[in-house]
Structure formats: structure tokens, C-alpha cells
Amino acid sequence: MTFKKTLLATLVGAAFSLPLIASAQDSDDITLRMAYDADPVSLDIHEQLAGGMLQLSHMSFDPLVRWTQDFEFEPRLATSWNQVDDTTMRFTLREGVKFHSGNDFTAKDVVWTIERLKRSPDYKAIFEPIASAEAIDATTVEIKTKKPYPLLLNLATYLFPMDSEFYSGTTESGKDKGAIVKNGNSYASRHMSGTGPYVVTERQQGVKIEFERFEGYWDKKSPGNVDHIVFTPISENATRVAALLSGDVGFIAPVPPNDLERVREDENVNLETLSGTRIILFQMNEERVEAFQDPRVRKAFAYAVNQKAIAERLMKGFATPAAQLSPKGYDGHNPDLEMRYDVERAEELMAEAGYADGFSITMMAPNNRYVNDARIAQAVAAMLARIDVTVDLKTLPKAQYWTAFDDHAADMMMIGWHSDTEDSANFYQYLTQCPDAETGAGQYNSGMYCNPEIDAMVAAANLETDRGERAKMLQAVEKALYEDAAFIPLHWQDLAWAARDGVNIAPVINVMNFPYLGDLVIEQDK
């Protein structure tokens, strides 16, 4: 029994040390201490759709398929799949997989989980396209969609089968074990049985979660060698970084941009960054400003903005300049689209549209939501001043910004968007489709941009199940939006993780921002 004192910023917000008994039974056991900015709110992975919960899902459960670093599908609990007809997909499940409870994993668990997902307030919208799921035999599941649906595999990355037997029945107090209760003390929020590499052994909300490697884990080929994980939330950025630099924790995320240099320069720590998938853009409101209805004006604005300068100077290279919504790797990413930036061309276009003397607009951006958000907005305002557009800029804390955004309170508004399905169509659906309160289309289209032709192209792509064919259609959408200058893309914010030497995070990180810790290798001699 070794006693080791370590820092744990035990409670969100302050750094406290807590003597911790490392439960290592023998000295060869490998323990990873990691710190995130927040901890999962519950053990019920269907209670909330959020990054922290997905991270937990990947640690204690397995999805049917998961993304690789280069956006391919990797079989996990599903070993193969094939399209039976336009609306039916058949998955063959892995054999010999056991849940933490000891129950065998079978097709009925998948069906049970899909039914539960369709009841979850947070997930039901995403799983809406699914009509039904049926267990053909113990290892075969057939999923039917309401319409031809090309993103079923994307959805399958969110499908972490739960132990149906474990979560069925009622508790002593007569409550349904499978019930999903928001912010409540449901059975599922305190008990867990998945197929994943780690079992939760101890959990104190806001303080820590301890994991132990699941002995019966099915994936014997996984290189992962970590026996214990101690997960601590440290919300203060500087404290989290300090905990890593001092060696109190071995792995942190996110790394705050102001500390990137410090982390990069430290010899005992490795910084890993990936070009992210969250696009930062400005929308131009065509209802508030008549001039924005003229595509030449929108194009002039797009020509006036120098994305590379922002990414290099303001973001210090911690961003990938963007000319479109879809990041590289997405099916809709169109490699032909290039950054415009050409002030002379912008001035010509303004003159053509009859605004040679420019005009005045209002602009709003958050000041604590995205990296350097307020400064980016100021830089864009400065660039627009070059074509005689006077910008009245206001920046707001995020707590107040989204209300303003929903009210379309300014002529140009900043927004960052990450596609939940890791698919381009999600961008179009929320950001560029003609706004329609009933269907929820264009919910975050504060520019009120509306081009029915492009919407039709998106709709067609959403019915195309051939991935290659669909990619072409999505790229055409991206090009059409570019030609129409529907918005001003700025950049994709990069993602950063940092770990002590010997903690090999590089192979397990991905742009979805949930490292596959089951496969994490820690070099033992370090």
C-alpha cells in the first residue's frame, strides 16, 4: 500500500490538495491522473448531450462504430454493416462482449438503447430519423429509417449500447431503473454498466471520478495499458495548466490559448494540437440591412476580410483560416475554395453595388465564448473600415450574448458552430437554410440568408445514401454558398491537449475532442 499525496483541485474553482490513497495493489499498476475543465454531470450518458458526457461514454461504454483520426468509421461493437435497402441498414454485432455487470452483450441491448435514446430529451432530435430497430438474432440488428438517411453511421457513433438487463426493472422505491431524469437522482445517474474499457469505482460530483480498467474488456488488441484513471475537474485555466506543469496530473484538456506558449516550452510536457472542426463566422443580416440582400455587397465584405492575418497574428497560428464551413475531412469540404481577401476587388464590388462611399452597420460578438472572440471582431471591423464600412461594435459576455443573438440584435453577428454529426449538412441545416421556426431549419441563421435552390441541394444530399455521390453534392452546396457569399467564414479553432512526457496522447486524440483513453499507452519507465 503506497500513500501518495497529490494535488487535486478538488472542487471546481479552487485548487486544494487532497491526500489520496492510490489504490495501487502492486507497484506495476499504471495510474493516469487527468484534469478537465468540468466533470460529467451524471453517470447516465443519455441525460445530457455534451462533450464531458461523450468522454465518459467512450471510457465506460463502446459505440457501434467510432471515428478514426482521419474521419473513417472504425468498427467497435458492430463488426460490419450493410445497406439492405434505401431505408434499412443491418449491423452485425461483435461476439463475446460482456457488460461490466457480467451480462452478455446482444442485439436486444442495442434495440433497448435506441428506444431509450428516442426518449432522451437531448438525443431524440438527433435520433428522429430512425423509425425502428429490430433484433434479427443475437448478433444482428436491423435499423430502419423513416426516409433514406445517409448519416446512419454518423449516428451510430452516438450509439453506446447499455446493459438492458441491468437497467430494467424497478428500484426498491419502485422507480423505473431505465428512467431518464434531468438533474435528478435517477437509478441510471448513479449506476452504470457498459461494455467499455473502464469501470467507475468512485465518484464525487465536482471532485473526482476514479476508474479502473475492466478486466473482461473485449478489446484484447487495444494497446491501452492504463490500470487506473483519476479524473479531476479543474475549471480555472491557470490552475489546470499549473497542475500539469508541476506533474500533479499527467494529462489536461483544454489547454487555454494564453498558456500555449508556456506549455509548448516546457521540456517535460508535450502539447498536441489538431485543426478543429468548430467554424467561426460572421453572418450578415439581410432583414436589418438592405444592402446585404445584394450578393455583391456580401462578396465585397468577404473580400475585405483577411482570414490569414487573423489566424496568424491574433490567433498566433492556433487556428486554420477558412473559406468555407466544412473543415478538411468532412464530406462537404471543397478543396477548390480559396480565401478571397482582395481589398481592391472589394472596393470595386461596393462601387458596382452603388455603395462606393460605404455605409454604417452594427456588429456584435461574444467576449468570452470563443478564443479571442472580441479581438477577432475588432479586427474584422478594422478590415471592413478599409472599404468605408463604419462598424459600431459591441461585445458581450456569453451569458448575455445568446439572447442578443436570438433577437438578431445587430447587423453582423459572430457565431461558432460544431457539427454534432461531424457532417457538413448539419452546418447548412442550422446556419444557412431559410429560417423556419416550425421545422427548426436555420435556427442559428441570424443573417436571415435564404436561398431555396441551395436548400433544395441540401435536401437532395440528405436523401443520397451513397457517400461518394453525396460528398459531391455537399461540395457543390459549399461552392454555391461561397459564390453567394452567404456568410463570412473566419477560421476553424484549433484544439489542444497536453500531457506529461511518456503519456502518449497523440495516437488517441481526435478532432471530436474525446480521446479514446481505452487505447492510451503510458510508458512505464517514465
Binding site: 486544494f16 490538495s17 490552475t239 497542475a243
Partner: protein, 349 residues
């Protein structure tokens, strides 16, 4: 004495009442709490039901009484951001601030007394005039700027090369006026020692004590000039007094006169001013904690403002109000006890 106590308590109560009304009013003013609680798809009818259930439709006075009742039990609701009772959040951040204040007070006492006394005894000495000059400059530098300069010099490091660095003496001189940096300037560090409850201390070891140095020096820098000047002025006055002259005449040793008789009489006004300055100190902790990301109440308060975390803002205001009221009452009491000649009623604090 009793009448004085009652009067002070009444004042304290009045102050807390005013603060609570202000706090409650901003709580009421900050938009619809329902919006923070339910999703956007929830229909208006359900929102209205929830509003009724939470008593948000009651008249202002009824709501205030409910708020005051809960406040009596230190129940200010849940922080929107931390999703925990605000009192717990405050309690967690309190030790950091108290330790910073304690370290600062220690610095002030250790430095201001000797310097102040020395400057009074030898007002014309070069060193004394130097101290006075520095304290005039010191009072003109805002605390956050001192903090930034300290960070630049001791945490980041500065390199000056006015001398030819090729030569031995040149590089030696250059090194002399340059600094390497390296002092910790962010947060409390991670070698904290648990005392009890939510109290983890920086005082238990060198590794953690070093984190206190820059914040405490910054915070002390703004209060120090004030105390040095005050002690000097009071001491000068006391030294002119008859009884000191009498003591001198009696042949009592100068050292004894200075440090026993004179200093004792100097301390009285110093304690009063010190007590009143606690308010200023709390304000300055907000600035210092912001610069050093010191996870205390000040930083928490600013974050709460940025996040529009109303329950936490309200709780902070109430707690800080309580601290002020208590310290001010205590200072008055001590003053009254130490100096019975002071008329305890009707005296301006």
C-alpha cells in the same frame, strides 16, 4: 456601553438591510430565471406554471421577505455556474482570500512599524526621506500596476544590456540589473496542505509559501505607504507631548521611551484606521486576485459578474457586507475599550 452596543448593532442591522434590498433588487432585475432553467422548446403555459410554483408572481414585498428569511439561514440558492449552493462556493473561495489578507497584514505590520518609527525619530535622515519619497510614489501606483510590474520583473524576467556584454565587468553588471524571473505568479500552487473543511493552506511549506509572495507584496504595496505615513505622523505628535518630555527628563532610556511609551500611544489611531482600511483591502484583493488568478472570493466575484451568476453575486455582496459590518463594529469596540476617554456615542467611525 450597552447603549452604544445596541446602537452599533442597530446600525449594523440597517446596513445589512440596505445591502439585502439592493442585492435582492438586482436579482429581480436580471431577466427571467425560468429561461435559465428550461429548454427553449418548453411552451409558455408550462413556464407560467413553473413561475407560479416558484413564487415569482408574488408581490415584490412577499418575495423579499422570503429572500430575507432564507438569507437568515444562509440560504441564497444555487449558483447558476457551479450548480451548488452559493454559500458552499463562497466557503471554498474564502480561505484563499483570507490567507492573502493575512500574509499582507503580516508584511504591513512587520515593515510599517519599524520604518514609520524610524522616520519619526530621525525625520531628517537621508533614509527616512527616501522612505517618505518612495511612499508618495507608492501611493500613486495602482495595485494592479504594481502587480503587473512585479510579474514582469520576477515571474517573466527582464534583460537590460546597457553595458557591453562582451566584457567581463559589462556582462556582470548586465546580469546584476537583469532578472531571470521564474517566481510563481498564477494561482495558489499545488502543494497546499489541508487544514480542515474547505481550508487548504499556503503557509505550511516553502513550496506553497512562494506562491503567496508576489500577490502579498502587491497588496501590501498599496497599504504600506499609508501606514508608514500614519505611524510617522502619530509618533511625531506623541514625541512632542509632555509626558514623553517628562520621561526623558526622568532619565528613562530612549529606546524604552520610543518603543514602549510612544509606540503604545501611536497604535491607537493606527488600529482605527487599520480597521477602516479593511474595506479598502477587500477591494484591492479583487484587483490583486484578478492579476494573479488567485482563486479567492474576489476572482470568484468578477467571474460571477461575467457569467451573470446572480445568486453568487448576491451572496458575495451579503457576505462582504457582513464582514465589513462586523469588523467596523469590532474596531469601534476595541477603540472604546482601549481608550475609555473616547465618548462611545455619536463618534464618527
Amino acid at each position: 456601553m450597552i447603549a452604544f452596543l445596541i446602537k452599533r448593532l442597530f446600525h449594523a442591522f440597517l446596513v445589512m438591510f440596505v445591502i439585502s434590498v439592493i442585492s435582492f433588487a438586482i436579482q429581480d432585475n436580471l431577466g427571467d430565471p425560468i429561461q435559465q432553467m428550461v429548454g427553449q422548446s418548453v411552451p409558455e403555459s408550462e413556464r407560467e406554471a413553473l413561475r407560479e410554483e416558484l413564487g415569482l408572481n408574488d408581490p415584490f414585498l412577499v418575495q423579499y421577505v422570503r429572500f430575507a428569511k432564507n438569507a437568515m439561514h444562509f440560504d441564497f440558492g444555487y449558483s447558476y455556474f457551479y450548480n451548488q449552493p452559493t454559500t458552499e462556493v463562497i466557503l471554498r473561495h474564502l480561505p484563499a482570500t483570507l490567507e492573502l489578507v493575512a500574509a499582507t497584514t503580516l508584511l504591513i505590520v512587520l515593515l510599517s512599524v519599524p520604518i514609520g518609527v524610524y522616520s519619526a525619530i530621525r525625520p531628517r535622515a537621508l533614509l527616512a526621506r527616501f522612505f517618505m519619497g518612495v511612499s508618495t510614489v507608492g501611493i500613486s501606483i495602482p495595485v494592479f500596476l504594481t502587480a503587473i510590474v512585479l510579474i514582469q520583473i520576477f515571474a517573466i524576467g527582464v534583460t537590460f544590456t546597457p553595458f557591453p556584454s562582451e566584457t567581463g565587468w559589462g556582462s556582470w553588471l548586465n546580469d546584476l540589473i537583469s532578472t531571470d524571473g521564474g517566481m510563481p505568479a498564477y494561482g495558489r500552487g499545488h502543494e497546499l496542505t489541508h487544514v480542515f473543511g474547505t481550508w487548504y493552506t499556503n503557509f505550511a511549506g516553502w513550496d506553497s509559501l512562494i506562491y503567496l509572495v508576489l500577490p502579498a507584496v502587491s497588496l501590501a504595496s498599496i497599504m504600506l505607504p499609508l501606514f508608514i505615513r500614519l505611524i510617522r505622523a502619530e509618533m511625531l505628535e506623541v514625541l512632542q507631548s509632555e509626558y514623553v518630555k517628562f520621561a526623558k527628563a526622568k532619565g528613562i532610556g530612549m529606546r524604552r521611551i520610543y518603543f514602549l511609551h510612544a509606540l503604545k500611544n501611536t497604535m491607537l489611531p493606527v488600529i482605527t484606521v487599520g480597521g477602516v482600511q479593511i474595506g479598502t483591502l477587500v477591494a484591492y484583493t479583487i484587483l490583486t486576485e484578478t492579476v494573479f488568478q488567485w482563486p479567492g472570493m474576489g476572482l470568484m466575484f468578477l467571474d460571477a459578474i461575467e457569467r451573470s451568476d446572480i445568486p453568487l453575486i448576491v451572496t458575495y455582496l451579503m457576505v462582504v457586507g457582513l464582514i465589513f459590518v462586523i469588523t467596523n463594529t469590532l474596531v469601534d469596540l476595541i477603540y472604546g475599550l482601549v481608550n475609555p476617554t473616547v465618548k462611545l456615542t455619536g463618534k464618527p467611525a
